[in-house]
Amino acid sequence: MTSIKLAKKLTKKFGKACSEPGEALGEVTIEVTDPSRLVEICEFAKGELGFNYLVDLTAVDNYGEDPRFEVVYELYGYAHFCHLRLKVAVDEESATVPSVISVWRTADWHEREAYDMMGVTFDGHPDLRRILMWDGYPYFPLRKDFPLAGKPSEMPDVAFTNKAPLEGGPFVTSAGGKDTTKREPRSRTAEISSSDD
């Protein structure tokens, strides 16, 4: 039982809804072109093909491409030790994908994290709210157009955020200084005590 055999079984069953399995670096990926059949595909993968472990569920932001997001499902089967990757393209306007929580319960928190960080909503999720940031935080932090340092926001009595300065501050070194005093501006040289004799 290899991943590519199981992937071919899946594409044979679902034909139009997913692409041919692509193999790269020993890993097999299937692009699901019809998101409305995603739950059916996942149920087949879990039931018939034995992929009973959802290793990971993440979203990828291809900023500048259309469709913008890609939701990636990494599957594994304990019985046959095979991995499989499913990718679903999601465009920015709708940004929704059916939830696979009915197939693997672990998708619950993974989907909440994908929603929190990227803004991809999952249809049919019973409790889709933010998991890492707080409810009411106005941005989706892991999108490519969100700066690493963050943006200021304020929710009185809940939380606040500020921009984190990426450069500057009291602990800055200048690389390539010839000695410690030039590299570490706050360091002090030891007092060289004069000898008496």
Binding site: L132, P147, L148, A149, G150, T161, A164, L166
Partner: protein, 166 residues
């Protein structure tokens, strides 16, 4: 070393020391400083190690790690303070009775550490007044004990009977 005659006869009156109230009260306070361990991340492991037998924070009277803020004097912020946790840390600090001190342990508590990001508070001194900063990621337990000693030196100098105008 010459012992000075203080002006009374110890054989008659017993062992008495004459000193200043400030010195005595500060001596009590600094030698039994009960921490409130705000152990948020990896620095908490080094904090636990400092309470273990090898490094022994009990030498300083600080083995009583009271997790209730109402029974502690010193808050050791050990770990990354995220924005989500920041207001909870402030609320716990506000519940501590005076006199209280804060040690910011580790790089994340002192300045946000390696996390210059959207989710990490860049230093707990943005929400609390910090007395001693400990550098390190994580600082060795001996560095934390050095911070406790520096804090003891700070407590010893505090005016108690006539407090400084704040």
């Amino acid at each position: 070393m010459e012992f000075q005659e203080i002006g009374y006869n110890t054989k008659v009156e017993g062992d008495v020391i004459v000193t200043k109230t400030d010195a005595v009260i500060n001596w009590f306070r600094k030698n039994s400083i009960w921490p409130m361990p705000m152990g948020l991340a990896c620095c908490a492991i080094e904090l636990m190690a400092a309470s273990s037998s090898r490094f022994d924070i009990a030498r300083f009277g600080a083995e009583v790690m009271r997790f209730s803020p109402r029974q502690s004097d010193l808050m050791i912020v050990a770990g990354t303070v995220t924005y989500k946790m920041a207001l909870a840390v402030k609320r716990i600090y506000d519940q501590m009775p005076d006199p209280k001190w804060v040690i910011a342990m580790g790089a994340c508590a002192s300045s946000g550490g390696m996390y210059r990001s959207y989710a990490v508070l860049q230093g707990v001194d943005r929400i609390l007044p910090v007395d001693v900063y400990v550098a390190g990621c994580p600082p060795r337990p001996e560095a934390l004990l050095d911070a406790v000693m520096k804090l003891q030196a700070k407590v010893a100098k505090e005016p108690v009977v006539f407090p400084a105008e704040s």
